[in-house]
């Protein structure tokens, strides 16, 4: 069966179906992270003492990761723009960069986690570390998910470009919307956990 409205917009919504789909999914994601942020605030205002992020966490590394993730958002949107300008070659370069930057983010995160574990700082150590690992861990899983989808689009998924270029472009746009959301979550996680 042919999937409807992968390219042409639906007359009632004015957009192709996957775009509405991803936005509804992102709305649920806002609530997922919102619930955790809300829990963070409640735990923090209820705690007798709360450490400053910089006492436990490595701010230079987290700043580096912020720069890496923001850059990956730019390369992602450039990957989409390349397809809009009919260049699969440039799409592959930008999408490749996006994937590489995401992997750099994960490696840096890995070093951060490793340094904590070396000092026997586990989630069970304190409420601060528990919510830190929960929030950054869930965010890290989202990065992994994005890498998997982007790798597919960069590799085998690009075969669609030959037969249905507009549909493929829409796929990349939808993957991009997800990726920018992951960036957006980090934009809040970074000051909340590290700087305050």
């Amino acid at each position: 069966m042919e999937i409807p409205y992968t390219v042409t917009p639906r007359s009632d919504t004015g957009i192709f179906n996957a775009k509405l789909g991803i936005w509804l999914f992102l709305a649920t994601e806002v609530m997922l992270f919102g619930a955790l942020f809300s829990s963070y605030v409640l735990l923090r205002v209820g705690a007798p003492t709360w450490p400053h992020g910089y006492e436990y966490l490595n701010i230079p590394l987290a700043t580096l990761n912020t720069v890496v993730l923001i850059t990956s958002s730019v390369t992602m949107v450039m990957a989409w723009a390349s397809l809009m300008m009919k260049s699969l070659r440039r799409f592959r370069v930008y999408m490749g960069l996006t994937i590489l930057l995401a992997l750099v983010f994960l490696v840096v995160k890995g070093f951060e986690y490793g340094a904590k574990f070396e000092h026997h700082l586990y989630p069970s150590e304190s409420t601060f570390l528990a919510i830190y690992f929960t929030l950054t861990g869930l965010h890290g899983l989202h990065v992994v998910g994005g890498v998997i989808v982007n790798l597919y689009l960069w590799g085998p998924g690009k075969a669609m470009w030959e037969r249905q270029p507009e549909r493929f472009t829409n796929r990349v746009e939808v993957a991009g919307l997800y990726w920018h959301f992951v960036d957006l979550v980090w934009i809040f996680l970074f000051p909340v956990l590290y700087l305050l």
Binding site: L20, L42, P191, L195
Partner: protein, 99 residues
């Protein structure tokens, strides 16, 4: 038509570069301000305002929310209302303590 489309995309790309530079600058600013160790209320206000600006830039330009269809705005309006409701839940802490 095709040519006009390419021109429009090129305009987008220029906007992406400006947004990218702004995001980098705001990242440096927020880290720099955090080293001043302001009083907690000010530190929270400044950090959240800067994060809010950065998030708005990403949403408006990279996610194209600046020119989207009504149905997406409708879904997001509901999301924002529910998100605010979630964020006001910790207020119950103060109510509990009778403050």
């Amino acid at each position: 038509m095709e040519q006009a489309n390419t021109e429009a995309i090129k305009k987008h790309v220029r906007a992406y570069v400006v947004v990218f530079v702004s995001l980098m600058a705001l990242t440096i600013i927020t880290v720099a301000i955090s080293t001043l160790h302001l009083e907690m209320y000010w530190a929270i206000a400044v950090a959240l305002i800067i994060a809010g600006i950065k998030a708005s830039l990403v949403a408006a330009y990279f996610m194209h929310l600046i020119s989207e269809k009504k149905v997406i705005y409708a879904a997001l309006t509901l999301t924002v209302v529910l998100f605010i409701a979630l964020m006001t839940l910790p207020v119950s802490h103060f109510v509990d303590r009778g403050i």
